[in-house]
């Protein structure tokens, strides 16, 4: 016995997948990424094909794609991962006592873990004659073949069901030359996705294409003797048909699970780890019921797959918490989008844009200034954006007055109307940073079988740099793979090392008094021993921001710029920016800088956008001696290289300017003295303008002051970068003292609550101006406490890193090693 046990230890565990569809195979892909060697895997599929993209059956029927186009995993994929594949051989029995499955052909395969992904069946209305030849569902390649064959011989087809699937089937049959009538029980099409207005517009467009509709019509029976010849309705009328497609819904396919005694309700019941009531058996996809919900769209299935894979790989930390879904109709020439709760309830507000001449309709349902549902017809380009705002629960009050006009109306970097991706040619540049064209993206998606934004970024680098084209890339993704593209999960993890979000981490560090990175890793069950280049800098920042007096900064978790206190350039040299408070300088300051440049052979000098002087092309080993000279002349680090407070830009102010109302340079100096050296979630820029002419451009800064005759206007959340955003007015104050206090409080609030690498502009949009006003304006005590915490942190932050290094700190960072023997 012992010997047998010992042998078993050396054998891999066996995993059997029942159901060779998108959810099941996706789970295997995720599993292979996490634990490639964990299991001997066997797959059973009822269909004779390898895994294909079921969502794209409609374009196949419409003749826009071929079967080969929609295969996701070819047989070579299974072979190369050592997976045994049995196609055309459904599993007919699960023997849970002996842990084995039995297939139709009589194969018996034992399992240690079983994954059920049996999908769903089309619901066939139980009326007389519904089993006649010529009555089919719309579910798999065989159904598509049957429809294409029928289109060659017959002329008249009836589709029962005016939902998404029914309309796509009807459109496909129409394109194959058939005379198609859609029979629908309700008075509006796609009633689960559309309101009446959008449904009417849709019906009109489809009628223009040639489809016929019988609304509010109930099927009573299928006519015919040995093949369908027509339908009879409840009111006694009849219609002729050589083909009847039933598309009235799907039912989870749980027959096999029920026979095996697994607990089923509407679907096979699973918990948040995708486990059934038998702990050895997991289930994903359309066959499952999770928290009372069954899903028939692909994006939730992919989220489920990721969770199931995590548990099969024995990581045991992922949880599926349900999904919000969105829908797009795949009928060429008709743009339709729907997501969330789109029928107005009490307490909701509705924004509507309707333009009958352009056949355009957009409706957003809001509750407390957050989107809870969206319906769009005619122009769905902004569907992904609205859906993102919905999932993330973003407060839209700041751009509520223009939201219906779309995201480009907010001022995307020059994409503007070009965001209609379908109309773009293949050589149109999508990602301006990395020079990626639409053709490159489409090609990568198709040849490499990509489904996620992250995949596309990794393979093509599109949207991987500045991110301003993310919306475009998502749109290409969704137009190429259908709605099946994987939307971002509702809770976004910090990185691949963890399931926890930025907010989870920030909260845990504060609540559990975590003061060391290793302790954070342990407490939050990080999956990798050392984290990665994405999460370590974030954790280092969060720890530093929360525990400035105790946390020991970790240089190895800083990007090189912050470790070397200079800005790395493309040739590996660094740039040096000495701080000039408020932009003021003296002749001797400039002489000192000039001397330094001569001494170290600086090849180029430039005045920066923030009114400072940048010295380029400095060799790394020259940095400490150069800093010594600059420190001796009275300079400190300009922090032009960090996720930190950068500069305070100022105008001339009332000392010289005939329009100036206040001493803007003086105030700028004070603000810079207050804030310099502070580490931030991202770079942070300030400006002070001496009058409303605003020469210092204070209204595109993270914190901007516009002086007026009666005091100071404080502006927050501006950005002049990728996406220009004008600041929001926070308030007006009377004294310089107040300016400094409000600035300290706002800065500290951002430091404590924003996500790492989130500028103030998206942060303000995410949490809402009202919330910031509540904390800074209405809560005087809270404001003073924030400002005080900022000042405490500054005691430790305002130790000049250049001076320390000029005196020999971190010397190893700047000195190469020599071969000694």
């Amino acid at each position: 016995m012992q010997k047998i046990l010992k042998q078993r230890k050396f054998m891999k565990e066996r995993l059997v997948l029942v159901g060779n569809g998108m959810a099941g195979v996706r789970t295997l892909e995720e599993l292979l990424k996490l634990a490639p060697e964990a299991y001997d895997i066997t797959v059973f599929g009822a269909e004779p094909h390898p895994n294909y993209n079921r969502i794209m059956l409609s374009p196949v029927l419409a003749g826009e794609k071929t079967i080969d186009d929609i295969i996701l995993n070819h047989r070579e994929w299974y072979a190369s991962h050592g997976i045994t594949l049995h196609t055309g051989d459904p599993v007919v029995e699960i023997d849970r006592v002996n842990c084995k499955v039995i297939s139709e052909s009589g194969l018996e395969v034992s399992y240690d873990r079983l994954l059920l992904a049996t999908g769903s069946n089309p619901f066939i209305i139980p009326v007389p004659g519904s089993d006649l030849p010529g009555v089919i569902g719309f579910r798999d390649i065989a159904d598509v073949d049957a429809m294409l064959a029928a289109a060659k011989t017959g002329k008249k087809a009836v589709v029962i069901g005016g939902g998404l699937l029914g309309l796509e089937a009807a459109n496909g049959l129409l394109l194959n030359g058939m005379d198609v009538t859609v029979v629908h029980l309700m008075d509006i099409l796609m009633e689960r996705q559309l309101d009446k207005t959008a449904a009417e517009m849709l019906r009109k467009s489809l009628e223009d294409k040639g489809l016929k509709f019988l609304m509010e019509t109930q099927t009573a029976g299928v006519l015919g003797e040995d093949h369908v010849t027509g339908l009879r309705f409840a009111d006694g009328s009849e219609i002729e048909a050589g083909l009847v497609v039933m598309a009235v819904g799907i039912r989870p396919n749980m027959e096999l699970a029920q026979k095996a005694g697994l607990h089923c309700e509407r679907g096979l019941v699973v918990n948040d780890t995708m486990q059934t009531y038998d702990p050895r058996i997991y289930a994903v996809g359309e066959c499952v019921q999770h928290r009372g919900q069954c899903y028939g769209l692909v994006a939730p299935l992919f989220e489920q797959a990721r969770v199931a894979a995590n548990h099969l790989a024995k990581m045991g930390i992922a949880r599926y918490e349900g999904s919000v879904t969105s829908t797009k109709l795949k009928v060429t020439g008709i743009d339709l989008f729907s997501a969330g709760e789109f029928n107005q309830e009490e307490g909701d507000e509705t924004l509507v844009l309707q333009d009958p001449a352009r056949n355009l309709y957009k409706k957003l349902v809001l509750k407390d200034n957050r989107i809870k549902g969206a319906v769009m017809f005619g122009d769905t380009m902004d569907g992904t954006w609205y859906f993102q705002l919905l999932r993330e629960g973003t407060d839209i009050s700041a751009f509520r007055n223009t939201i219906l006009f779309g995201q480009h109306d907010l001022g995307d970097a020059g994409h503007g109307d070009e965001t209609r991706v379908a109309a773009l040619s293949d050589d149109a540049e999508i990602c301006g940073c990395n020079g990626v064209t639409k053709g490159d993206v489409v090609n990568a998606i198709q040849t490499k079988g990509l489904f996620t934004l992250d995949d596309v970024r990794a393979h093509t680098k599109a949207s991987a740099s500045c991110g301003s084209c993310t919306g475009l890339v998502e749109a290409i993704l969704s137009s190429t793979v259908g709605e099946g593209y994987e939307a971002k999960p509702s809770k976004k993890p910090v990185c691949g090392c963890t399931e926890h979000s930025h907010d989870d981490v920030i909260t845990a560090i504060a609540e559990h008094k975590l003061k060391d990175m290793r302790v954070v890793f342990e407490h939050l069950e990080w999956k990798t021993p050392d984290g990665c280049a994405a999460c370590r800098p974030a954790l280092n920042y969060y720890l530093l921001a929360r525990w400035p007096e105790e946390y020991q900064d970790d240089p190895q978790s800083r990007y090189i710029n912050e470790r070397a206190h200079g800005n790395i350039q493309k040739d590996g040299t660094y740039s040096v920016v000495p701080r000039m408070f408020g932009g003021l300088c003296t002749p001797s300051d400039l002489r000192a800088i000039a001397d330094v440049c001569d001494k170290y052979g600086v090849p180029e000098m430039k005045v920066t956008g923030g009114q400072r002087i940048d010295l380029f092309g400095v060799k790394k080993e020259d940095l400490p001696p150069m800093w010594k000279d600059l420190t001796d002349a009275g300079f400190v680090s300009g922090h032009a290289y960090g996720k930190s407070m950068r500069t305070v830009k100022t105008c001339a102010g009332d000392t010289w300017c005939r329009f100036g109302t206040q001493n803007s340079t003086g105030l700028g100096v004070k603000l810079e003295q207050l804030t310099w050296g502070s580490w931030m979630p991202h770079k942070f820029k300030l400006a002070v303008s001496g009058c409303p002419r605003n020469c210092a451009e204070a209204t595109i800064k993270d914190f901007g002051v516009v002086c007026v005759d009666s005091g100071y206007e404080l502006h927050i959340g501006g950005n002049g970068g990728i996406k220009v955003r004008v600041t929001d007015l926070l308030c007006k104050v009377d004294t310089e003292q107040e300016v400094l206090e409000y600035c300290g409080a706002f800065t500290q609030m951002y430091r404590e609550e924003a996500h790492y690498l989130e500028r103030t502009a998206p942060w303000v949009e995410r949490v809402g101006l009202a919330y910031i006003k509540e904390r800074i304006l209405e809560d005087e005590e809270g404001r003073k406490a924030l400002c005080e915490r900022f000042r405490i942190g500054q005691k430790y932050a305002q130790i000049d890193p250049w001076k320390e290094r000029a005196q020999g700190a971190a010397a190893h960072e700047f000195t190469p090693l020599k071969i000694t023997a």
């Binding site: 050392d530 280049a533 978790s557 470790r563 000694t820």
Partner: protein
């Protein structure tokens, strides 16, 4: 015949960090991972010659500071889906001293 060259004591390289060694035809980055192993690779990313020595180290990989390619320190190869390879050199620690083979 290549020789083992003595570089420096192990503690001169910060854990999860690196030092640069200048050789005749360029620079070699010597990394120390969290498990105190050492790895030596040419200090140039296969993508655009970024100095790998300046990147963030995690596990047995380093992330290039210029465009975030991840390089496996054992093989010098870029992690999928990126492609490319930088030269590696044998490296070892003996009696607390780091050696690389040139």
């Amino acid at each position: 015949m290549s020789d083992w060259k003595k570089i420096a004591p192990l503690e001169d390289i910060p854990r999860l960090g690196s030092r640069v060694v200048e050789v005749e035809d360029g620079s070699i980055a010597v990394f120390r991972t969290s498990d105190d192993q050492v790895f030596a690779v040419r200090d140039a990313c296969p993508h655009k010659q970024g100095p790998l020595s300046q990147g963030i180290v995690a596990g047995h990989t380093v992330t290039c500071p210029l465009h975030n390619l991840k390089i496996n320190l054992e093989s010098g190869k870029a992690l999928a889906p990126d492609e490319g390879c930088t030269s590696t050199y044998a490296a070892k620690v003996e009696n607390g001293m780091v050696y690389i083979q040139l």
